[in-house]
Symmetry: C3
Subunit: 350 residues, 3 copies
């Protein structure tokens, strides 16, 4: 039997299957420094121990999207090494905060399977859980990917598509977020005066800034997450692919969009959940990423007086600024510049 | 009112105005590792805890130019987002040493304003102060930048140009530098035998080595400092600019010049002050940076017997070696290869 | 006398000469994070404190090849700044494990000299030793390099070629490796079921994955090691060289080959020794590196029941996959794609 991992094909997955992913990872201040260098993130809570401690954290927590990308990376060798497309995310909740020194590990369960009618591939739904060294859940999410079949003649499984929520309910957000000392939260240090109550559903914000991505940058980010998907690293093999070149990892686009959103959402200090996300078009080295956001909902959370939740749609575009809020071109098509359509909840001080 | 930061224009500044800059930052061993990876710096005091502790520090201090760039980065969104040009530095003193774990924050005061005669822009003089988590000043400097006016018809302020010293006086240097255990300072480990007394005013040193800079490198360095100046990151917007491409952050050129100066000034373990600096020409990805230095003064400091100060001019050049000590071509013009003319004080063991 | 280091020429070396190399270095979690970002390494022992502690380490040790590259880097300014070619390695043993916080320093002894018959250069054999802050040896190896003469008329030294072992004997391996708690070693977390006993001499493994290297990446890696060899960094000077461009540091190719070998040797958690290595051809930015391995020997080590040793040949190739196990084209020539031929010992749980 081969000693190398060729990844799972569609027919290798069974409903209810549980997978322990390899390579637990201690997150360090080295990882957080690299994350700043690769994204330019400026949220004060994640940047400064003192700021974080003043408002109620034991130290500066690790950026939520960094946690997401690290957990996601572990699932790749088992779930998506033979993926044709990463189709969507749902019900993604950031639970226990992560701090440098914590060790993350990941497990997944197959919660749905549906073969395509052409019999060449199928959609696999997995619920993945990231845990810290004490077994607490730090992240829990569902994603579905289209995975190739090894053998087109392999029998199709019973179709089983899980029922997934359109959004995480507000009462499921931020359970484990420490009480925030609102008086200690200094808006000048955080970068903007606008708190939860200053945003209105329907409001759109152009995040103004653009960030050009180099091959070395997206490769370093993706390797930092120990994500092994071949399309991101191998120019030699990609030369024969549809695009003829390396593709940027979609999680890096999410990181960039989140970092760019600081300019307009500086006090959105915690990503509490991702309701859904779609990588609308590929991004390549040399592309310049911009972003805009729309406030979808403003909700109180579990009677907390310290913080509130905003449901935000952040759209990342490439090689065009976001001043015109480019989005859909039709029911299920997008304007040409759009690369990411992300629906998520953030927490802000009230 | 817009929730995004469009930066201040010339008419937004008033004399005496005080600004608290956003995004305090805990400096970590991740930052120092990245700094080595991006500059190749080899000074033993900053590289090795044991070396630093043997000579009197509690642990390896953070590179002074990294501290400068981090503090400078915080000032950008408020001071120079609409800068036409970064004109100069003066009276820059590195005071309290910084160690991994320290949290840096920055404030500025407007100390001078002068509108240009064309009425389209003005020069803003700011004194910026970087402090650590206990409020001690780690860095104090003046810089002046030419900032665009939002509205050319806005009235000009009373011209007010601060009186700035040509150089930091030797008795203002290294107040907070710990006593250096001279016997424990091992020149073999530090990399060269030449101490303070071995340098003579007028002496010129070609630092020999050259370093080519990639887009990914200067972008990562500049994002590491959370510097948001658009010209460094956005190839899409820069395509329509005068240069048609991204510009390298001048502070990265200072970092490279300082790192290159190791070969010839290996025992200059601490930058105590920057007397003045001029970014003579822009630097772009693909350029190769060389450097040479001239010893301008050799001074005792506050009757200290352990260390002495050298005032050094370091000139960085691009795409040409520095063997011929290229510098000025006229009273106020420079030879074509010159990109940086930096006048500063370093401390060496006696 | 010049204050800059021009490096040693062949006639500057004498048999028995001892050299203390400059720039001790505290290895930090910043270095290990960058190493993951630059290589994508996924070995669980080096990735996760908890995994390492569960099996008997005090915390996650630093990757052995990172240690090698850091120690090697220190030797460059004294040994190989004027090297024409890096010819080989022998008898390289990784002894005391290294942990973040340890400070590495390096010394070398000249153990052989042989002038070339053309009188223009000579081969220098050095034994280099890396030590930690308590003086324990972490690494001990011999390398030989061809070094240019400053003056072709300088007299040749008495030829003296040290007797070097073909391989490190199994009883010299892993003396200081802690006892491994075999029951706690979880193969699912480590990434593969195959332990020491599952490999057979003669077995060949294609590591499948390929990794394209950018200029920014190999420059950052090489600067991280404070390696000052000019050919890696200076595009301006290299434009006039034989290859016309920057060369990738060979140690980065070793790092990549080791990281790629995870896919097939996931439980080879410790490099115990390098028996020999040859950089067969240069590697440049834009090249895609693949690797394959052959198991040369399987040996018990000092009656240990916890771990065993595999002697492995790992061959790195560029711009061609390794499925055909490309290697030698003749007695002393290699197939065109081969860039590295490395013979080393790894330890695996039994």
């Amino acid at each position: 039997m081969s000693k190398t991992n060729a990844g799972n094909y569609f027919e290798d997955f069974t409903l209810g299957q549980k997978i322990v992913h390899a390579t637990p990872r201690t997150v360090t201040e080295g990882d957080t420094a690299l994350y700043v260098a690769l994204t330019g993130s400026r949220f004060a809570v994640q940047s400064a121990d003192i700021f974080a401690m003043d408002i109620g954290y034991p130290s500066a927590p690790v950026d939520d999207v960094l946690v997401f990308n690290m957990v996601f990376g572990k699932t790749v060798p088992d779930i998506s090494l033979n993926a044709v497309a990463n189709l969507g995310y749902a019900n993604c909740r950031f639970i226990e905060p992560v701090f440098p020194g914590d060790t993350l590990s990941a497990t997944s369960e197959v919660i749905g399977l549906r073969e395509l009618s052409n019999g060449k591939a199928g959609v696999v739904y997995v619920r993945s859980v990231g845990a810290n060294q004490t077994g607490e859940t730090v992240l829990d999410y569902v994603r579905w990917v289209m995975v190739a079949k090894r053998d087109a003649s392999a029998p199709a499984p019973e179709p089983n598509v899980p029922d997934l929520p359109d959004r995480v309910a507000p009462d499921q957000l931020a359970d484990r977020l420490p009480p925030i000392q609102r008086d200690a939260y200094d808006p000048a240090l955080a970068g903007a005066p606008d708190m939860w109550g200053n945003y209105e559903p329907g409001e759109k914000i152009d995040h103004v800034d653009g960030m050009t991505v180099e091959e070395a940058e997206h490769q370093m980010a993706t390797r930092l997450y120990q994500n092994t998907a071949k399309v991101h690293f191998n120019a030699h093999a990609q030369a024969d692919s549809h695009f003829g070149r390396r593709l940027m990892y979609g999680g890096h686009v999410i990181s960039l969009a989140r970092a760019l959103s600081f300019n307009g959402l500086a006090n959105a200090f915690h990503v509490a959940a991702i309701n859904g996300g779609r990588h609308v078009a590929p991004c390549f080295a040399g592309d310049t990423v911009y972003a805009w956001s729309e406030i979808l909902e403003r909700e109180e959370v579990s009677q907390r007086q310290d913080v509130g939740a905003l449901r935000v749609r952040t759209v990342a575009v490439k090689n065009a600024d976001a001043a015109g809020f480019p989005h859909k071109a039709g029911d299920d098509t997008y304007e040409e510049s759009v690369i990411l359509d992300l629906d998520y909840w953030v927490m802000l001080p009230r």
